[in-house]
């Protein structure tokens, strides 16, 4: 390993690069119950999250049957989107919101990576990003965009917007 690569390796861990390459959850759900659009004005990166919900139960207990993302962005924002979609698909609205909150707390150094729930085990690979405050927003964009989407009443299929500061 060349000198200086260790920092690069610590930031861009293999897990991140694998998620970045993964296309499993890329795409847009046409008949989605949730559409949310997020923009990071610092870099202009954009992401669109769409999700379909199961029909059973009250709003908070409906499940994210499918969760997809599209958009363009850096390795960190794309990897984070892919990991989020994989981890949260199948969970209820309430559970997804809680895990998204846990991920954000970890990125903002309010909690440690070790404290992340097992379901977000892979997200510990984002630990290295925390050293670069300007890049933390890249990692949290997808999650914030989803949280915004989960706020809207699903039946309305309303489109929501997350605006990073």
């Amino acid at each position: 390993m060349a000198e200086g690569d260790s920092e690069l390796q610590d930031l861009y861990r293999d897990v991140l690069l694998d998620y970045f390459k993964s296309a499993t959850h890329k795409g847009e759900i046409a008949e989605a119950d949730i559409h949310s659009h997020g923009v990071n004005p610092v870099c202009g990166d954009e992401i669109k999250i769409s999700a379909s919900l199961t029909k059973d139960g009250g709003q908070e207990s409906r499940r994210l049957a499918r969760l997809r993302y599209t958009g363009h962005g850096c390795v960190i924002s794309q990897a984070s989107s892919a990991m989020m979609a994989e981890a949260l698909e199948g969970l209820s609205v309430a559970e997804a919101r809680e895990l998204a909150g846990a991920f954000k707390s970890m990125m903002l150094r309010e909690t440690t990576p070790e404290a992340l729930p097992e379901r977000l085990g892979e997200a510990r690979a984002f630990e290295g990003v925390r050293k670069y405050p300007m890049r933390v927003k890249c990692a949290t964009l997808a999650w914030n965009t989803l949280i915004e989407g989960l706020r809207a009443p699903p039946a309305s299929a309303a489109s929501t917007e997350f605006k990073e500061k």
Binding site: G4, L8, G44, D45, V75, Y132
Partner: protein, 413 residues
Amino acid sequence: MIDPAKIRKDFPILSRRVRGKPLVYLDNAATTQKPRAVIESLVSFYERHNANVHRGVHELSEEATNLVETTRAKVAALIGAKHSHCVIFTRNTTESINLVAHAWGRKFLKEGDEILLTELEHHSNLVPWQMIAQEKGVKLRFIPVAHDGTLDVDSARRLLSPRTKLIAFSALSNALGSVSPIEKILAMARSIGATTLIDAAQWAPHRPIDVRAWGCDFLAFSAHKMLGPTGIGVLYGKEEILDAMNPFLGGGDMIRQVFLDHSTYNVLPYKFEAGTPNIADAAAFDAAIDYLQGVGFDEIERHERALLGRALSVLGSMSEVEIYGPKDLDRQACLVSFNIAGLHPHDASTAIDLEGIAVRAGHHCCQPLMAKLKIPGTVRASFYLYNTLEEVDRLAVAVSKAARFFKKEEAIA
């Protein structure tokens, strides 16, 4: 010839280390570093001269007033303005342009009029015009940018009409480094009697200005991009136009007489300088101009040409690097904008930052231009008088290291 080793000693911050490595500062288009003379001038103002201006008859107030007015005269001489009172101090280029949009645009633009801009404008020479256009029912038109980042002025002639009231353009692109055909655009404006505004935010730090030779009506730039402090900007305007304009902000200093129901306004430049101005930074800007003139703009240009030439050749020889802009030293200046194949500019610049090198990544406040080039953004290295050829080479090494890292990882399809 500029000896950067000697110049660097005048800039305390350049001896700093960043991420364990000597700082290489290549983000000069965003803001430049400050020489000791400017920093000392700020300290000296607060330690020795601090008082409000134009208000007291006491000695300190007179000294403070003199310091601001000395800088104003120096700026006027720097840009070839006939009168000091045609130099208005603002916070920055953005405020200067907004001042014109409000104080000139509100008064003189009418529904159906047109404003001609270019596709490569910084948001600060676009958004203020969008706002006034919406308010007044004015139409915005744009000189197209060719793929190499140059302005297609010849094809812009067909965009001209008797309704074109203003042509506002950047002299030097902050995103691509392309130099605008300034005189050609000004001649075009003259042929139809349009008012002209030059955004010289990137030009003023690097090249000489002669507003009388150019014959432009307005010119705007920021001190912080030319070794000066933040918070002080310049708007130059022709006297008769400034006189005819509405005031911008209302309040103290900009008035002559105030009654309960109306006021009369002060003379230039104070008509446009409401409230307590940025006295300390205006005073310290003087030292920045002295510094630049001490080195000389000819020398600065020669040095920057060498730096850009080296950057274009070393980065240009790397197969994984794509450079945007004219790539020609006669049509491009001071900065180079590029991407590493398949790599988002933010990832590239983080990798470069890990080597202690400060570059800017992103859309550079030029989202419409990035959309036109169909890229999310670029990595931009921008140079100034204290940069060295070795620093350009260090950038090249960092770029190739980043390219290798992400290729090796095969992260990028």
